[in-house]
Amino acid sequence: MSSIFRQFYFFLIALFLALPLIVVAGVSINQKQTLAFPPEGFSVSWYGEIFLNPEWRNALLASITLAVLSAALAVAIALPLAWFLWRRVAPWANIFQLLGVAPFTLPPVITALGMLTFWATAGFYGQPWTAVVSHAIFFVTLPLVTLSLGFTSIDRSLVEAAATMGADDRKIFRTVVLPLILPYIVSGYAFAFVLSLNEYIVAYMTVGFTMETLPIKIFNALRYGYTPTMASVTILFVLTAAIIFGLVARFGDLPKLLGAMASEGK
C-alpha cells in the first residue's frame, strides 16, 4: 500500500515537472500561428524556423558561441585554482574559492548589475566579448565545485608514486593528475555550457541592447506577443540539456558529481 502511495507521489512530481513542457511541446507543433492546446494540426515547421529565420538563427549562433567560449574560460579559471588548493597549504588562497562560489550563490541580478556598471564604467559596454567574460565569472562556480570534488577523489599516493619514479610537478600533472581529473573537467564544462546557453539576465544586462542570445530573443518576442518559435526553441533547449546531462551520467558518476560521495549499499 505504501508502495502505491509512493508511486502516486512520484507520478505527481513527474507530472508537475513535465506538464508545462508537455503543453509547450504541444503548442510547438501547432499548424497555425496561434497559441492553442491541444494542438490543431501537426507541423514541425516551427522547428525549421529556428534555423531558417535569420533572426532566430543568429540568436542561436550567438548563444552557442557564447556558451562554448564562456564555459571554456570558466574551466580555465577553475582548473588552476582547484589544483592549487588541492596541492598547496595556503589558507588565505581559500578566499578565491569563496570568490568563485559567490557569483552563483548571490541572486543573479546582483552579478548582472555589477557587470553592467563595470563594463559601462570601463567603456566596453555592449561589446560581445564582455558577455563571454561575464558568463565565465558567473558560472565559474560549476567547474570549480566539480573539479574540487574530483581532486579530493584522487588518491594522493598515486602522485607520490609518480614522484618516486622521477616525475616533477609539471610531469605529474600532465601524466597522472590530468588524466584522472579529465572526467570532472568535461562535466564541469558541460554544466557551465548548458547553464550559459539558458542564461538571460547577465547576458541581457551586458549585451542585451546590441545583440540577442536565444533567451533574450524569446523574452523580447514574449513582450510583443506570441510566436510558436518560442515553443520550439524551448523544447530544443530542454532536449539539449537532457542529452548533455544524460551523456554526463552515461560516462560519469552523476550522483557522485552531485556530492553523494558515500555511495555505500545501493
Binding site: S2, Y9, I13, A14, F16, L17, P20, V23, G26, V27, T34, L35, A36, F37, P38, I77, A78, P80, L81, R87, R88, V89, A90, A93, F96, L99, G100, A102, T105, L106, P107, P108, V109, I110, T111, L113, G114, T117, F118, A136, I137, V194, N198, E199, Y200, I201, P215, I218, F219, M230, T234, A241, F245, L254, P255, L258, G259, A260, M261, K266
Partner: protein, 284 residues
Amino acid sequence: MRREPAQTLGDYTPLLFPAAMLTIFFVVPFGTMIAVSFFQRQQGGFYTPAFVYDNYARFLSAFFGGVLGFSLMLAIAVAVCCVVLALPFTYLLTRMARSVQVLWLVALLSVLSLSEVIIGFAWSTLFSRTAGITNILVALGLMGEAQALTPSFGAVLTGMVYQAFPYTVLVLFPALVRLDPTLTEAARTLGASPLKAFFTVVVPALRNTIVATLIMVFIFALGSYLLPQLLGRPQHWTLSVLITDQAIYQSNMPFAAAMAVFLVLVTLGLVALTVIAGRKGEAA
C-alpha cells in the same frame, strides 16, 4: 603527495590567472556597483560620481517596505513549499535503484538549467486561456469554460516552486544519501511504522540540513527576477524584479545598485546563518 606550503614565489603561478580574473571581473565590478549606489542619478543619461545617500533613503518609503516585505514573504513561501515537497521525494529517491536515481537527476538538472524566461513562458502558456490546463479540464468535463489562471499570486508561487524544486532536491540529495539507511530500519524493528520512522528519525536527524536547505532555497527564490513579472501583477513584483526594472527600463542605475547592495546584505546575513547551522550540524 602531502599538501605542502608554497616554497617559492614560482609555486604561486597557477593561482595567478584565476586570482586576476576573479579580482578584475568580480571584485572590481562588485565594488563599482557599491560605488554607483552612492552616485547621483542624471536625468536621461547614466549617472555622475558623487557621494549621496539619496538612493538608500528612497527605501524608507511605505512602497519599498511593502516590496521588501512581499519579497521576503514570497521567498519564505517558496522555500517552505519546496522543502515540504522535496524532502520526502529526495528521501525516497535516495532509497531507489541507482539507474532510477540517475534518470531523475538528469530530468531535475534539465529543468534546473532552464532559464527563467523559458519557465515563465511555459507556465504562462499552461495557465493561459487558449492553451492552458483549463482546456484539459474542460475536455475532461470538469469545467464549463476555459479561463486564464494568470496573472495571479498562485501562478507566481507555482512558477517559482517549479524553478526552485530541482534546486532543493539537489541541495538535499548529498545529505540524504549519507543518511545511514539502517537508522530507519532500526526504527522499524523498534516498532515505528514507515511514516512514523520518517517523522521521528529522518526529519529530526536532518534538522540542521533542513534549516540550511530552507535558507538556501530562500536565497534562490529571492533571486527570481522574471517570474513575478511574467506571471503576476505589479503588486507581486519582488526586489529582484524592481532592480531589473530600475536598471533597464527606468535607467536609474544608482537606485538599482543601492537596492542590489541591500539585497546582498540580506543574502550574506542568511548565508552566515546557513554556515552556523551547518557548523552545528557537524558538531552534533
